[in-house]
């Protein structure tokens, strides 16, 4: 199942590129909007990259589940003998590979653009590595609840953004602390803990929510 998803995803290359391009563009807007001064960029850099990553993931969520839902195969998937939660986990991992992973990989490059020092860049990479999957999973919960609704996009953002706040706070702060030579392990531990929580709980929630949404059609 996982491989099938990955195969399909890689065929739609535009969908992979879109979140990454969005990510890069948004980050590039900030020097233009605020100031290209390296000190300024260094101080806002972690926050900017984190918020941009968050928005990119939000953008990419729209395509999750959608094609399956529209052509009815979602119900077939949920009826299959395999536990729905495992299938969902596979689906999300595929989604993350396509949308989250590219962002994580390209983030050090953006860190360079914003004049972040090397060790700070490294922490940025790790924080995103821990945090982005959480964003994917919790975002998937939002998608599962709003799929098939008319204004799904706006409602999805409203539902999901408050839930993103803890990861944003800890993730961004880990990098900022690293930049200021303050301890950052606590923040990273929090990110890891949230990730574990999301990984264990979200598949169940997502499959329940999808069942509810399917019954609505």
């Amino acid at each position: 199942m996982l491989f099938r998803d990955l195969q399909i995803a890689f065929r739609q290359r535009a969908e992979i590129m879109l979140p990454v391009i969005f990510f890069v563009v948004v980050v590039s807007l900030f020097p233009l909007a605020i100031s290209p001064d390296p000190d300024v960029l260094r101080s806002i850099g972690p926050g900017v990259i984190w918020v941009a990553a968050l928005l990119s993931i939000l953008l990419s969520l729209q395509s999750l589940f959608r094609s399956d839902f529209n052509d009815g195969s979602m119900e077939q998937i949920l009826l299959s003998p395999y536990p729905g939660s495992l299938l969902m986990l596979a689906r999300i991992v595929a989604q993350w590979c396509v949308t989250g992973l590219p962002l994580i990989i390209i983030s050090p490059l953006l860190g360079l653009l914003l004049h972040l020092e090397t060790h700070v860049n490294w922490i940025l990479f790790i924080s995103l590595l821990l945090g982005v999957p959480y964003l994917n999973m919790v975002g998937a919960i939002g998608v599962a609840l709003t799929i098939g609704l008319r204004q799904a996009g706006a409602l999805l953002s409203l539902l999901v953004l408050p839930l993103y706040v803890p990861v944003l706070i800890f993730g961004s702060n880990a990098v900022i602390s690293a930049a200021n030579d303050l301890p950052y392990n606590g923040q990273l531990l929090w990110l890891a803990a949230l990730l574990v929580m999301a990984t264990t709980l979200s598949p169940f929630v997502i499959s329940s929510a999808l069942r509810v949404s399917c019954s609505y059609r």
Partner: protein, 251 residues
């Protein structure tokens, strides 16, 4: 009949829509009266009798509406989440009705906590808004409420809307402690030297009693709204049944 059996029977009867409708209707006037009385006591106690705070002067009196609003905003969300769980697990329709009836008033309390907090902030700390832990948490809670209301509104089918909203409420309730902790933590980073801005100085008993009265009054007000709303929702849900038919045609 033993005490246990009586309680169980009462619970069982509550599940019956007609019984609940009548029970709520009987309870409502008493609730209203109690709310008004407690609100008057609280208001008079808070505005007149409570001594002025030596640090904040008369301005601190806003606490008598700010704190109860904040407490209620969380309390109502808990009620919504718990009823959501009951609805998902045991499919008791009354639970969904209670959750549905509480959403707007809960969001209102959250809004009031934000508004009164903001107004309180201006004379105290000079700005209309301050990103302190409590206000920021309330703001995020408001988003959670609005998302809940939006989700319910977007789904036309009552039962499906109820299930989806219940899932959302449960996800929210798990996240609220996490969100709150992260916001508090974030806040302490940026204001290392201060105590939480909304911390009350050592609270005098004269100050405490009106606060508790107002808190209780707000709770009773919520109960009034809940009773009225759930009766409306119940009628909507059961509109084709015999008891509703008799009820509306006889009046």
């Amino acid at each position: 009949m033993s005490e246990q059996n009586k309680t169980w029977l009462w619970f069982h009867r509550m599940g019956s829509p007609a019984y609940f409708y009548n029970f709520a209707g009987l309870l409502l006037p008493w609730c209203v009266i109690a709310t008004v009385i407690l609100m008057l006591i609280g208001l008079i106690g808070g505005l007149v009798y409570a001594p002025a705070d030596y640090q904040q002067g008369e301005g601190f009196r806003i606490i008598y509406v700010h704190v109860p609003s904040a407490w209620m905003s969380m309390f109502v969300y808990m009620v919504m989440a718990i009823n959501g769980a009951i609805f998902l697990i045991w499919h008791i329709k009354l639970s969904d009705i209670i959750a549905r009836s509480s959403a707007v008033i809960g969001a209102s309390f959250t809004f009031l906590a934000l508004a009164t907090g903001s107004i309180w902030g201006k004379p105290m700390w000079g700005t209309w808004w301050v990103w302190d832990a409590r206000l920021t948490s309330e703001l995020l809670l408001l988003f959670l409420y609005l998302g809940y209301i939006g989700l319910r509104a977007a789904i036309d089918d009552r039962r499906v809307a109820g299930k989806a909203a219940s899932i959302l409420a449960l996800v929210g309730v798990i996240n609220i402690p996490i969100i709150h902790y992260s916001v508090v933590w974030w806040n302490t980073l940026h204001q290392p030297a201060s105590i939480s801005k909304f911390d009350n100085p050592s609270i005098h008993i004269d100050m405490l009693i009106p606060l508790l009265c107002m808190a209780l009054a707000f709770k009773l007000f919520y109960l009034c709204i809940l009773l009225i709303n759930s009766r409306s929702e119940l009628l909507e849900q059961e509109k084709r049944t015999q008891w509703v038919k008799e009820l509306v045609t006889s009046s």
